[in-house]
């Protein structure tokens, strides 16, 4: 896959940073405003896909990239399960128990475990979508050779 023209590359350079930041904002404010881990993870994956489509795949090593994204999503979902199991050790003996202090509703640091779950689910969603897309690109490259 070739990269696109210079104008597209320049506009992508300017746009990718804000899109990525918006995804992080959506994830971190998931318990206060609309959004959350699923939406934010999809937006972050969209930023990566935009970068890949605009610059082509000659600038990155696709094999290394797909190994990285696949490892990232595996580790993220493992951390979610470990956090759910931690509530069997601390607090009440219930799976997925919210044992951290709740704080003041409406503050950024509140709602106990929910922001942590949001962050790791977001990483997992971004990794999964990116893995599927990168494997499609690699398949296309290998079969066109």
């Amino acid at each position: 896959m070739e990269g696109m023209s210079t104008i597209v590359k320049k506009v992508t350079q300017l746009m990718v940073g804000p899109v990525f930041l918006y995804g992080i904002y959506i994830i971190l404010h998931g318990h206060l405003t609309p959004g959350g881990g699923f939406a934010g993870g999809a937006i972050i994956a969209g930023a990566f896909i935009l970068l890949l489509l605009a610059f082509g795949n000659n600038v990155i090593n696709l094999k290394k990239e797909v190994a990285g994204s696949s490892n990232t999503e595996s580790i993220a979902i493992l951390i979610v399960v470990v956090m759910a199991l931690m509530s069997l050790l601390f607090g009440a003996k219930v799976f997925f128990f919210n044992f951290l202090p709740k704080g003041e509703p409406g503050e950024l640091l509140s709602a106990g475990m929910i922001p942590l779950y949001n962050i790791f689910i977001g990483i997992e969603v971004a990794g999964a979508i990116l893995t599927i897309f990168l494997s499609l690109v690699i398949f296309k490259e290998e079969s066109s050779k």
């Binding site: 999809a42 509703p105 999964a128 979508i129 499609l136 398949f139």
Partner: protein, 112 residues
């Protein structure tokens, strides 16, 4: 009541596509359309007139909010829909490379 029936008509359009089309891409599109109608009917059931979006203002109390439960169900289903569509596309492109066609009847005849 009309809205529910129209939603079901959208579902039937998707089902018609799954039954009668022979192209793998068209079948994937029909499955997506069926999914969309299911999401819409879930959200329609939870809607309340003059209700607010389910985000509580900590200051005020005793407001009417729309039902958050169907929205949470539909939220997970949308992301699963993306994953299944992408996997269907992976299967379709793999079959196209092997058989040079998207026709499911041809693919069944050319087995092996």
């Amino acid at each position: 009541m009309t809205v529910y029936i129209l939603c079901f008509v959208l579902f039937l359009v998707g089902l018609y596509g799954v039954i009668t089309r022979r192209n793998l891409i068209k079948i994937a599109i029909s499955l997506s359309i069926m999914e969309f109608s299911i999401f819409l009917i879930l959200v329609l059931i939870g809607y309340i007139d003059n209700g607010l979006a389910p985000i509580v203002d900590p200051g005020s109390s005793a407001q009417i909010y729309v039902d958050p439960l169907p929205q949470a169900m539909a939220l997970t289903a949308i992301v699963i829909g993306l994953a299944t569509t992408a996997m269907l596309m992976a299967i379709a492109i793999r079959l196209y490379r092997k058989y040079k066609t998207f026709d499911i009847r041809e693919i069944r005849n050319l087995r092996g």
